[in-house]
């Protein structure tokens, strides 16, 4: 059950042109929090399937899966934010994103929406917000959407592509 996100219109809506550059974000849920990622970075959305466990990795790394012949790591977003490990079911969803040149999967509870956000409506996330993980800026901006606040993820900081060999 793959949804090709590419087919969803990405052209900037004309009415928003006056409010500065509008970008679209895919939002998804983990518990009650809503997170967003630039739609251009989302490659596809996939139903959860069992992953292959990798040895000696941090708990939030669920393992790797086979994405049409390439090996893609999957990280548990809840656990990455210090929450308990997700016990994934068929209802869970893996958002496949580009991080630099790498393809990475993020395990979330559900995908909720695609929202268009003018750049001037993005508020910077307060720094040193006491996040587990050393206060690194994993959230680069906050947006108030109709349904509530959306935290925009900085994927590069969350899952740096050169995580080193600290195992």
């Amino acid at each position: 059950m793959n949804i090709a996100v590419d087919t969803i219109a990405t052209s900037p809506s004309s009415d928003a042109a006056k409010a500065g550059a509008v970008r679209q974000y895919v939002t998804f849920l983990v518990d009650d929090s809503v997170y967003g990622v630039d739609i251009k970075l989302v490659r596809e959305i996939k139903q959860w399937t069992a992953t292959t466990v990798l040895p000696n990795q941090p708990a939030h790394t669920k393992g790797v899966l086979n994405l049409r012949g390439t090996i893609v790591p999957v990280h548990d977003l809840r656990a990455r934010f210090g929450g308990p490990l997700t016990e994934p079911t068929e209802n869970h969803v893996v958002v496949i994103v580009w991080i630099g040149t790498k393809t990475v999967g993020i395990l979330v509870d559900a995908v909720s929406d695609i929202i268009g956000v003018p750049s001037d409506e993005i508020r910077p996330a307060p720094s040193a917000d006491g996040e587990p993980g050393g206060g690194d800026a994993t959230i680069w901006g906050l947006v108030s959407a109709q349904t509530g606040m959306v935290a925009l993820l900085d994927l590069n900081t969350m899952f740096p592509s050169d995580e080193g060999d600290i195992g």
């Binding site: 292959t52 000696n56 899966l65 390439t70 090996i71 393809t103 592509s161 195992g167």
Partner: protein, 695 residues
């Protein structure tokens, strides 16, 4: 613009090839094995690269190539005698050209070490005053040269008019007015005027260049920068520098000239319809006119440049098909039905054809090891200069073909071994004299096929491993005990111990904090075997055996804690059940397995892979050959079977994981990890104790 990019990359790939040929020719000349034709070929290579570089306005490269070419020309014409030291200078110049091309391609502006000195040397040889051409790269006046390039030394903008009338040889020399104008824009070109008449097409001679061009520059830089820009055109065109303002063309011409200037490139391009090809191919033809070039053209038509990624896709697909085919074969074999006999036969036939298809596809990607080998002379030259040791590198079997995936991975370990041989293996020239050895040390690098594997040998005739020192150092590092009695080969093996070479200790030459253990591990991660023999006073020999391809391998599937893992079949010796009778546990927690009266170390894969311990049930032990530490036994839950697997990279989207050499996709679409046994042993039990090497 796209075209430009295409031509650019074409230029770089051709330049690389030309420079590689140049190195080969120069090597021959240095060994005094070349003839006149070799000199000509070397000259042509430099000349062609220069011509191509000129088309794109790569100033630094052009400047260096120009002086290099001048020297080659003098040798070619016999006004200069080629001797040993000159050959060395030329070889090093070839190296610099290679680095320059690499830098130009990557857009790096790093200065090339030793280039200024070499350029001065070449200039002296060519009898050119170093400052004359105001070469941007000349070391002596580099401050001002720098300013030529980017910042304005003369703050006031001045107007300079350059009149250029191309000669007949202009296009043949790889020049093209359109490109000249394009690159001149960066120099502050503001106007172009054209004079002359293009004859009708019927009488048009592409070599005749009927037009005279006036280029008006508004530049804040010194005139010298412009002069040097035009230097390269001087042999193929008349270049005049005119004073500004007084000689200015009448204004009424301007309007028509503008349109002409725009039309002109099309007209001018005619003699040279394919600028990039012309730029590189034409000089070849003009400098030689020999049979070689015609032959080359014939060859070119029979080969095809294909992006390696396309071939990779083919290789992967064929690999996947093999796996599917294996699953299909298994399923048809399970059906016991006479009517299925035909199906089974067809499946068999398909299997054979698939294997053949796979071999053909792999053959496309096979490359001669030459592409790695020919980098090594440069390594040796750099080091002989640095260490003050003369050495000769002999290459054998450069045409041995290996899969491109293996070739890429070979550069690093080979470089390291050559460095090691230069630094530790060979004695100094004087020392060799006193030892009655040939004064110049010898390193031999050879490749050959043997069955399904390729054998690469690195051999030197130096002093061999200094066993006393190695033992002393191992003692110091706590790798051995003072009363350990080791056989000479065992002592030699110590240099491969991960704890042996450390970053602080290593000399600047052979180590960047990388020890021979890394070389060995690299080779093993490629599925290769590594052996070393050393004889004191006679030399050291490393023998590497590698599979011909990394894309497909035979593996043994095992299961541990419901996960499937693959062991490279080449390492598997046998499988045993672990029972109460043959399993032993020592007081320190080490597990041993008795196998025909011999005790093997038993390593729990669950433990090494950080998986939960097993609650019950018997275990299997797989005896594997670690190549270096002898046999060990790995405990697994179940042995599933043998299969061919297609290697996939974990690093492409993730990172290197210790103990895992890669992954593969099983018939059911699940990913299985491939175990890297030597690495697993080193991370093994989290006791922190270094894994034992000697056994």
């Amino acid at each position: 613009m796209d075209d430009d990019e295409d031509f650019r990359s074409l230029f770089f790939s051709e330049a690389r090839e030309l420079l590689e040929q140049l190195q080969e020719h120069l090597n021959l000349l240095a060994e005094d094995a070349g003839d006149d034709e070799t000199v000509h070929a070397a000259f042509r290579a430099v000349h062609s690269v220069k011509g191509g570089a000129a088309a794109f306005g790569f100033d630094v490269l052009i400047g260096f190539a120009h002086i290099f070419e001048t020297v080659m020309d003098r040798i070619r014409s016999g006004t200069m005698q080629l001797d040993g030291s000159l050959a060395q200078t030329l070889l090093r110049s070839g190296d610099v050209m290679q680095i320059l091309v690499e830098n130009t391609e990557s857009g790096s502006e790093d200065s090339v070490p030793g280039m200024a000195r070499l350029q001065a040397e070449l200039e002296a040889l060519a009898g050119v005053e170093p400052s004359a051409a105001a070469e941007p790269a000349a070391g002596d006046d580099s401050p001002s040269a720098d300013s030529d390039l980017d910042e304005d030394a003369v703050p006031e903008a001045s107007e300079i008019i350059v009149r250029i009338t191309p000669d007949e040889s202009f296009a043949e020399a790889g020049h093209d007015m359109v490109r000249l104008i394009r690159s001149a824009r960066e120099k502050g070109l503001s106007e172009v005027h054209v004079e002359g008449q293009v004859p009708p097409v019927t009488t048009f001679d592409p070599r005749q260049n009927p037009l005279t061009w006036e280029l008006v520059f508004h530049t804040e830089g010194p005139v010298a920068a412009l002069r040097s820009f035009f230097t390269i055109y001087e042999h193929a065109a008349q270049v005049e520098f005119l004073d500004s303002s007084d000689d200015y063309l009448e204004e009424d011409l301007d309007a028509s000239d503008d349109s002409q200037a725009q039309d002109a490139p099309a007209g001018d391009a005619e003699p040279d319809t394919d600028p990039a090809r012309g730029s590189l191919a034409a000089p070849n033809a003009d400098a030689s006119g020999e049979s070689g070039s015609a032959q080359k053209r014939g060859e070119a038509a029979k080969s095809l440049r294909v992006e390696i990624s396309r071939i990779d896709r083919l290789v992967n697909l064929v690999g996947e098909m093999l796996i599917t085919q294996a699953a299909l074969g298994q399923q048809t074999a399970d059906i016991e039905n006479r009517e299925m006999a035909d199906v089974a036969l067809a499946v068999d036939t398909m299997s054979r054809q698939l294997r053949e298809l796979q071999e053909s596809v792999m053959a496309i990607r096979a490359q001669p090891v030459k592409s790695v080998f020919r980098r090594m002379p440069r390594v040796v030259r750099d080091l002989s200069e640095k260490l003050g040791k003369e050495a000769r590198l002999e290459l054998h079997g450069e045409h041995t073909e290996v899969d491109a995936t293996v070739i890429e991975e070979l550069t690093e370990p080979l470089t390291h071994m050559i460095r090691n041989a230069m630094d530790h293996g060979l004695e100094s020239n004087d020392e060799r004299d006193t030892l009655d050895k040939p004064r110049v040390g010898r390193i031999r690098l050879a490749a050959e096929h043997k069955g399904e594997r390729v054998i690469i040998t690195v051999e030197d005739d130096g002093r061999g491993v200094n066993r006393e020192r190695v033992f002393a150092k191992a003692l110091e590092r706590g790798l051995v005990q003072p009363d350990d009695r080791l056989s000479p080969p065992e002592i030699d093996m110590l240099i491969f111990h991960p704890g042996f070479s450390t970053a602080q200790e290593v000399s600047s030459v052979s180590g960047r904090g990388v020890g021979m253990d890394v070389v060995k591990r690299k080779i093993q991660s490629l599925g290769g075997r590594f052996a070393m023999t050393s004889e004191p006073g006679k030399g050291t020999k490393f023998v590497i055996t590698l599979p011909l391809t990394l894309a497909v391998m035979d593996g043994m599937t095992v299961s541990v804690a419901d996960q499937k893992y693959i062991l490279p079949l080449s390492t598997v010796v046998e499988a045993l059940h672990v029972t109460r009778d043959n399993g032993r546990r020592l007081p320190d927690g080490t597990h041993l397995l008795e196998r025909r009266g011999e005790y093997l170390k038993l390593l729990s894969l669950r433990h090494a892979l950080d998986l939960p311990p097993r609650e019950q049930g018997t275990e299997m032990a797989i005896v594997v050959d670690t190549e270096t530490s002898g046999l060990i036994a790995l405990t697994v839950d179940e042995l599933i079977g043998q299969r061919q697997i297609v290697l996939k990279s974990l690093e492409a989207n993730f990172k290197k994981i210790n103990g895992i050499s890669g992954a593969t996709i099983l018939g059911d679409g699940q990913v299985a990890l491939i175990l890297d046994i030597p690495a697993l042993m080193n991370i093994s039990p989290k006791t922190g104790a270094p894994a034992e090497v000697l056994h």
